[in-house]
């Protein structure tokens, strides 16, 4: 009875946005013109319906401690020993994820109604957005890897479509292509991981895989990190996660992805899709735990990306690019936590990050909306009094991002730092702490430059009511969302180490961001942020950081240009020259043979006579 209720709710959660997207698509295809109000009602209503179903699910499962629920709706394909189904798996982790996706998704849909109101492609926007939510829900609810991959590629596609949403600009399309192709590289590695897992374990069911992996490759702590098959599987899956989450070495698509409309950046490139990689590793935590090497790789990737992106964010001028780099950096924190085995801390940070980063992006969207699509923060300034509401939103967002005490971001980041200490990973702890310093610095640099100081460009529009509602809810979530979801620890079965909460260390970690803000304020007052740099060395450093450590240039020189050069050098297909060569030989021989057949009677005669003489001499003397 309860199973059926749950399965129907889950089906509704996924199908409502999908249905709405399909309806809107069919309407567009068959030239049924819909009013914007109707489109908005349908699209937002569908996500709202999903969100309500998720709330019902939460209520239903609130008192169930360690629950896991799986249900198979239909068979997808079955060939010989290979089979895949349409099935869902719900546990504490996926419940948190669908809550974030549907909840934040709903708020962003609501916000978009205002933000996109004047866009002529209103309907197309909501088709993509609905489709995205559906695909994301499939991703997090899937009980087997093939269905997860369906959602995985689905969100990638929607991300591509939405980055290139404003199709008139070529640059948007290039950014979209870059995003899709770079994630595709990770995805292909992940697909190979799927093949390998199926070959070794004979199943694609996620829970089965992990159970069998634990039996097949028991963790041998004495052996240390080794490059065995479980490590290869884990690393292949990690490649997919790295691509989707914008981690090193596939991180450089994310800043460019900001070409899309701002709600998209909030939903896809901050709150949900880019954290899919974190979800994937958390989902496969049993598998990853079996391979110490893979865990170290995860942590190292997280740590390096964290610093890389945070330093890049220090020097950006575009408000959205600052936030994009900060997203990469925050996901780096999550990877670091995953690598340290602190899965619930990672997912907790994923959740709080979804709240405060969605808030920051939506607020940035409102800012851009009010400032005639101005993205450069140095053209703004002193907006504190002009746009007080947005200023408040930004303040709470930045505070949470900087992990100021009592904000949601504080609790989750604090938890990560503490877990790192618990596991005696002091190097990573130092990296994370310095990351926290830089984070606080750049987030308040953004805040001070935009809202304090001398007045720059003046706003000409006010955010609409829809936008304000969504923002307000997110502000509340940002402030009070710092409660770790209860279901998580049961999923990850983490042993709670009795950590002695050293007060000095806690105070120290609190002091770090605060001191960063103080330094930032000091520099801001001296007006050092927007001065032009004189020294060559500093300029070089600035450019290096500004380009995100020069990865784009590196990849262009290493892969893109050689690829284009190689393919274009063979434009005419060298194999064809073999056949044209064959053609030419026969034509040439035709030409020579044709000379003999010239219509000259005497020439024919002469050859006849000569041949006869030759033949006779041969006959009479040759033998």
């Amino acid at each position: 009875m309860q199973d059926q209720y749950l399965s129907q709710l889950l089906m509704a959660v996924v199908l409502l946005p999908l249905l709405s997207a399909t309806l809107l698509m069919l309407a567009a295809l068959f030239s049924v013109s819909l009013k914007n109000v109707l489109v908005a009602t349908l699209a937002v209503g569908a996500i709202g319906g999903s969100a309500i179903c998720v709330i019902l699910l939460n209520l239903q499962l609130a008192d169930a401690g360690n629950f896991s629920f799986s249900y198979v709706y239909a068979n997808w394909l079955k060939v010989g020993s290979f089979s895949a189904v349409f099935g869902v798996y719900l546990d504490g982790l996926s419940l948190v994820m669908i809550s974030i996706v549907s909840g934040v998704g709903f708020l962003i849909h609501l916000y978009s109604v205002g933000f996109m109101a004047k866009d002529q492609d209103f309907q197309r926007f909501f088709i993509y957005l609905n489709l995205f939510v559906a695909a994301m829900l499939v991703l997090v609810l899937a009980d087997n890897l093939l269905m997860l991959f369906l959602g995985w590629e689905g969100v990638g596609l929607c991300s591509y479509l939405l980055i290139g949403f404003w199709h008139q600009k070529h640059a948007n399309s290039l950014a979209a292509n870059k995003a899709f192709i770079m994630t595709r590289i990770g995805d292909t590695a992940m697909a190979i991981g799927l093949l390998l897992l199926f070959m070794l374990l004979g199943t694609l069911d996620i829970q089965q895989i992990q159970l069998q992996a634990e039996q097949l490759w028991p963790l041998q702590s004495d052996r240390g990190p080794a490059f065995d098959s479980v490590t290869i599987c884990a690393l292949l899956l990690l490649a997919g996660a790295v691509g989707k989450s914008g981690q090193l070495p596939l991180q450089s698509w994310l800043p460019d992805a900001m070409a899309g409309p701002t709600p998209v950046s909030a939903l896809i490139h901050a709150a949900t899709m880019v954290t899919a990689g974190v979800y994937l590793v958390a989902r496969f935590h049993q598998l990853f735990s079996l391979s110490p090497l893979a865990m170290q790789v995860v942590a190292a990737i997280g740590a390096i990306t964290l610093i890389l992106a945070a330093t890049a964010a220090l020097v950006q001028r575009d408000v959205k690019r600052i936030l994009a780099y900060s997203t990469i950096s925050q996901i780096g924190y999550m990877f670091l936590a995953l690598g340290a085995g602190a899965y619930s801390a990672a997912v907790f940070h994923l959740m709080t990050h979804a709240f405060f980063k969605a808030l920051l992006f939506l607020a940035a969207g409102a800012l851009i909306y009010s400032m005639q699509h101005q993205h450069n923060i140095f053209r703004m300034g002193g907006l504190r009094s002009k746009l007080p509401f947005i200023c408040v939103c930004f303040f709470f967002g930045c505070a949470a991002l900087a992990a100021l005490p009592l904000m949601s971001g504080f609790f989750s980041k604090e938890l990560i730092l503490q877990k790192l200490l618990d596991r005696e990973m002091y190097g990573f702890w130092l990296v994370a702490l310095s990351g926290a310093f830089i984070t606080a610095f750049y987030s308040f640099r953004l805040f001070f430059v935009v809202f304090f100081g001398s007045t720059g460009q003046l706003p000409d529009a006010k955010p609409t009511t829809n936008m304000k509602i969504a923002l307000s809810v997110l502000v509340l979530l940002t402030i009070f969302g710092g409660i770790a979801p209860s279901g998580l620890s049961a999923v990850f079965a983490e042993s709670e180490l009795a950590s002695d909460h050293n007060l000095a260390i806690i105070l120290f970690t609190i002091a770090v961001p605060l001191s960063a803000i103080a330094v930032c304020w000091f520099i801001f007052k001296k007006q050092l942020f927007n001065i032009s740099i004189k020294s060559d060395k500093l300029k070089g450093l600035h450019n290096f950081l500004y380009s995100g450590w020069g990865f784009d240039q590196l990849y262009n020189a290493l892969f893109v240009r050689p690829f284009i050069k190689a393919t274009h050098s063979n434009k005419k297909d060298f194999i064809d020259s073999f056949y044209t060569g064959l053609c030419q030989i026969s034509q040439l021989s035709h030409q020579y043979l044709n000379k003999l057949q010239n219509g000259q009677l005497r020439w024919y005669n002469a050859s006849l006579v000569l041949f006869s003489i030759a033949a006779m001499t041969f006959l009479f003397t040759g033998q």
Partner: protein, 101 residues
């Protein structure tokens, strides 16, 4: 009795004259005449060989060649006249049109 060798030499010389005629002359009429000479060279050989073997086949063959030559001349001359009427020339080199594209 004329020795066979003499007739052979005569016949071969006639044949070679005919061949050279075909090779050297450009006028279609003379080519036709050269063909006749060659035919007759063969015919003479047939008669001589028939005589040598005491066999009538050679003479029968000669009659066959005679009719053949007659019909050939009839058709050939007719064609030559037609050709001359059309092109006002009997030069085979000029008449060669097979290779014109």
């Amino acid at each position: 009795m004329i020795p066979l060798e003499h007739i052979l030499i005569f016949s071969i010389s006639l044949f070679v004259i005919g061949v050279f005629g075909i090779l050297v002359r450009r006028n279609l009429l003379f080519i036709l005449i050269s063909i006749e000479i060659m035919l007759n060279a063969v015919a003479v050989l047939f008669v001589a060989a028939g005589n040598y073997h005491n066999n009538a086949d050679g003479q029968i063959m000669y009659l066959l060649i005679l009719t053949l030559a007659a019909s050939e001349v009839a058709v050939g001359l007719g064609l030559v006249i037609q050709m001359y009427r059309r092109t006002l020339s009997l030069d085979v080199d000029q008449l060669a049109s097979m290779n014109e594209q």
